[in-house]
Structures are given as C-alpha cells and as structure tokens.
Chain length 359, copies 2
Amino acid sequence: MELSERKKRILTAVVDSYIATAEPVGSKALAEKIGCSSATIRNEMSELTGMGYLEQPHTSAGRVPSPMGYRLYVNELMERQKLSEAEAAAINEKLARKNEQIEKLMAEVGQLTSAMTQYPAYALTMKPPVAVKRFDFIYVDANTFIVVALLTDNTVKNKLVHLPFSVHQEQITTLNSLFNANFTGVTDREITESIIRSTERAAGDTYGLVAVVASFTMECLAAARTAPMQVAGTSQLLSQPEFRDPDKAHALMSFISDGSRLMDDLPPAGMGSDGLRVTIGPENLAEELKDSSVVMASYDAGDGMRGYIGVVGPTRMDYSGVAAKLSYIAAGLSRLLAGTDAPEGLNNKLVLKESDRHE
Amino acid sequence: MELSERKKRILTAVVDSYIATAEPVGSKALAEKIGCSSATIRNEMSELTGMGYLEQPHTSAGRVPSPMGYRLYVNELMERQKLSEAEAAAINEKLARKNEQIEKLMAEVGQLTSAMTQYPAYALTMKPPVAVKRFDFIYVDANTFIVVALLTDNTVKNKLVHLPFSVHQEQITTLNSLFNANFTGVTDREITESIIRSTERAAGDTYGLVAVVASFTMECLAAARTAPMQVAGTSQLLSQPEFRDPDKAHALMSFISDGSRLMDDLPPAGMGSDGLRVTIGPENLAEELKDSSVVMASYDAGDGMRGYIGVVGPTRMDYSGVAAKLSYIAAGLSRLLAGTDAPEGLNNKLVLKESDRHE
DNA sequence: TCTAGCACTCTTTTCCCTCGAGTGCTAATT
DNA sequence: AATTAGCACTCGAGGGAAAAGAGTGCTAGA
C-alpha cells in the first residue's frame, strides 16, 4: 500500500530530524515544517506507527524511525545529495596521489572515507585468481640469487634466496627455464604435488631449490588473492551519542577492528544498480551489527577486480550524506584503478544530480 | 631523603591495590597487610601525601598514588614479574611463525602485544639509511621492462615500467649498466640533480627513462627508511574504568591511532639499561598523554636496526606485568630478527628472575 | 477532514536526606 | 617516642520523592 504524500513528508521529516539530533521527534516540532497542526501530525504519526514505520521509545516520548522506516527512507524518500565543491576537491586531491602499492592505497582510502564521513570505514579489494606470467632468476653471487615473478595482474613479486652452498650461474639459468615451463599460467590451486615432483626430477642437481621457489610462488599467488582488509577511524564511533555507553562502543569497535569478521558480512547479495548497498540494523547478519547500519559502495578495480568501501554507524546514520560521499570516492577509485569513468552506470549521475529542492 | 622501610611497604601496597581495583585505598584495608593499626597507617600515609607520593581525590576518600609515587614504584619498589609458562608459550608460538615481510610482522607483533597486555600497543622498526646494491633490468617486451633493485638491507624492490613507445633489449641493458654505475651505493639524500643529469646525458636515446627509474629508486630508499608504525588494540582502552568517559576515551584513542603523532613522543631520551622505558603521566611530552603512561621496550632488529614496542594505558597501569611481557616479547624479537640472545644484557635476566617473595 | 483543548502518561531533573567510608586529631598506652 | 584506640567531622555516593516538561490520545467542535 502506497503512503499518502503527507505521510511521506512526515516520515522524511522524522528521519531527517532524528538523524540530525538523535532525539525522538514530537508532533509540535513537525507542525511548522509540514504546515498543519500538531494534532493532525499526531494522527498521521499514530498511523505510521501502526504501519511499522515509526516507533515509540515510551508512551510519552516522540517518535523514532523503525528499521522499516529507515528502509523506506533510504529507498525512496531521501534526498540525493551532491557533494560540496570543497568536499569533492578534498577527495580528488587525496586520490590524485597515486599510490603504487595496493595495500597502502587501501589504507589511505579507508582513512579518507572515515575522515570524510565521520564514521568508521573499511576498504578492500577482491582479486580474481592470478598466475605467474614469467619468472626471472637473477644470479647475484655463488650463494645468492633473486627470483622475480611477474604475475598476470602485472604486479611483480620477488624473493632473495640465500643458500648454504654454492651454485653456478648456469644452474640458476636452468632453474629459470624450468619454472617458466612448469609454473607459469597456473593458479595457486592448480599447483599440485605432481607438478613439483616432476620439476624436481627434471632439475638435476638443483632439485633442492625447486621446493623453495615453488613455495615462494604459491605464497605469491595466495597473497595476491587474499584481500587485505583495511579498517580506519574506529574511534569515530565514540562521538556518536548512541555509543556513549562504553560497553556498547567496545563491543562494536572490537568487531569492526577485526577485519575478517567484518568481511563475512560483506557482499553476499547484491549491490544496488547504483553500486551502493545499505543494510539497516537487523538486516545485518552479524549479531554485533544488529543495532548498526552499513553503507557500502563497490568500485571497479580493473582487471576484473572488484573493490568495496564501506562505512559503519548507528542506524541513525546520515545515509544521504554518506551515500553521496561513498559514491564519489568509489567513482574516483574506479577511474584511478580501472580507468573507467562510470563503472556502475549511475555513480556519476548520482553524484552530479542536482539536489531536490528542500527547505 | 630515603623513605623508611615501612613507608615503602605502604606505598607499594597502595599502588598494587589501586592498580588492581582502580579504587582509592583507605587505611583500614592496608592495616592487615602491613601489620599495624589503621591509625599508624593514617599517620604514615599523611606523611607520604605531604612528600608528594600520594594524593587525595577529596578529603574523605582513600589515597591514590601520584605520578611521583608511581615513579618510585616503577624505579625501586615493584616486583619484577616472571611470565607464566602459558604466557611465555603463547608468545613464543606467535613469534615462531617467522614472517617474511617486516610490515606484516610488525602488525602481528602489535596485535600480540596488545592481546597479551590488554592495552593498546604499537610496534615499529627504525631502519638505518639504505642504498641500492645492484640493479637488474628485465626486458619483458618492446613496451615493458621490470626494474629490480637489491638494497643494502637485502630487501628487493621492483617496478614494472610500461612505455608508450618501443625500446630494444640493448637499450635496456645499457640503462642497466648506467644505473649500476651511478646509482648504487648512494643513500636517498645523496642522489642529487646533478647525478641524474649526468646519467641522462650518458643515456643517449633512452635519456627519457632515467628520470622514471631514478624516481623509483628514490621512492624505494625513502620507503625503506620510513618506519611503518603499527598500532593495535586501541579499543582495549574502553575496558579501563578511567576511560568510561567517552570524550576522554575518544581523545586518547584518536591520538594513539595516528601513528605519526605517537612517534613524536618516542625515544628522545634513553631506554633503561634493561631495554625498558616507562613514562608516567605528566612525564609524557604530548598533551594527550598527560594522564596516561607509556611502557616501551626496544629490541635489536639486526643490521643496526632498532625496534620499539610499546603499550599505552592509564597511569594506573599494571607496570610490573606489562614490563615483563614487553621484555619477553622484545627479547624474542631480538632473537628472531638479529639472532642475538640477550641484546639488552638484562632482558632475559629480568624475565627469568625469580619473583620476590610477597604475601 | 482538520484543529483546539485537555487530561493523562512517562521520563528527566532536581533536591534532599541518609549512609558509610575514611580522615585527622587527641588522649591513652606500650 | 612510637603506636593505638576512640571520636567527631567531611564529603561523596545512593536513594527516593517531588516537580518539571514533553508528548500523547482522545473528544468535541469548526
């Protein structure tokens, strides 16, 4: 059943006001904004409460949005914000310093997101399986050589190997071709015992080195696929009134700090068509998040990689502002990492869309 | 002026009790432990207060140690604890998984320290300046080559260079020898414009690539010297009664989270002969730490590198327990990274020393 | 259908009182 | 001279009761 226009306006006003003040909102305060008397508002609010969009902390307090109310707000009612010039500039400037190492970049993006939104934030990149494209073995001295592996995602890994015995330049060269023959083009799962064995048999007197380099290879491939989850700004939580209770704050903060726990709660189902996903309170899987909301944006990290940035906050979160900021940052990352300009189709539209008239 | 034996025992008992309970301690509670009447204790405590070792929150409360009292406690009075078998085993097990990458190791050490002590912890390694030992250029295809730099600290850095034009294998080889001639053995500060210029002149038709590789080189050297500061477990603060006030907690947590700020407060003056340093409340430089204490231990990270691990907590901190744990972890790290067994001379002694008889 | 008015509900704030832990001092005791 | 027992005093913490205030629900009238 569709809500009347006025009910929508009332619900929007309640959510906006509650987001801003964290105080239950009463009928009198809304009377002006909506343009009818408080009694009328009371009737309408009473109905909204009955329908499950609002809640009453107790009989004689104002109304507070229920998760369902937030959901409607997020889906239909909220104003799509545009970033201010200053905010957009700040983000662009931060992202402009291209950072070579993906992990450091993620850490910075996490911090940036947290700083912009004033909520704890996380950032990560999911990588598809990779393989080694080519190996190069560099002979340093009789006891030392370097293995350089160029991966399919165009990152380069290396390892310095120190030996307790001497080798010749030629032995290293042999090893080199052997690895190029047997260990290129395979993902970490495809490296089996039997490949290692047969390579060892072919290696002649350097067979002892095969295991070393093979395990290095597997490490590289595994490391390349495990996503380094970056979390930043957890302490921001403490500035939110709902976390003035240190026990609650502690519980949620430890949960957030543990990236692996947070990761379990990530993208089981889909992102919206605009690359955004909002999960509100009880919609979250993790018990620790039942009173919190998560806003998440995805971006194209190039080469088939998908990245996610997100923000955790109280259900009374500034969804509109956060969504705008995340979209903008995600779009920036897509551009930076993948060179695509509107990876999600709507990111930019969202960001650039003129704000609705409001007052 | 030296304190009487009994005053020392009283001060010790006050500190121990306050550390354990966070409650001001009164004369009656101490009477049993010390073995004389509460009136006597009151007299003694009154004198200790006059001397500045104790403080009274208000007239009719018990006594609380002053920073000066903590200082005396740390310097002379406190029991040197030995770790339990279980604790030592836990630390050893964690450290045993040798981690190749120093940054990841530091992150894990930070988490370990925080988990063991129940306080926020940080870990970092200071590196001496490094230079490049040798360059190797790997020709991949006409538009691509890899630069591999072996640094004096035996780490290997690399960079994949993509060109908008084609190069020949020979040009890369030439560049390789050029860099080996001009850019090895110099630290980041010693790379001047003039070296770059003269290399460019010598480079012939590949002069355009010199700048790219030179800047990569400088990045490597700079990155190798900047210490990656790892902070872990900030949310532990919230379990301390003195940080039940969310504003205080927030202020300190944001300070700690910002590694660079914390770093400024690090080792201006020395560590004690046992590799430990304790700074209590107002002794700290940073304003944010005036109500907190920092316990820090240093370790030998090999190759002239020095590392530091530390713990931040309320002035009412379990100095004795934390010191023991930090010492043990630091000793373990020294062994792991430098292969030295008792780098600070006293670390092991401290750890292995039998506890004083107490009780 | 909206509004004005009013009685009612429930939380929050304030104030005051009591309770108790702990002190400081004095006088007695060792 | 040092220690102890005793006692009056101080000050914060805890617990209601009462008042204040905000908001509701309902009814009657426009």
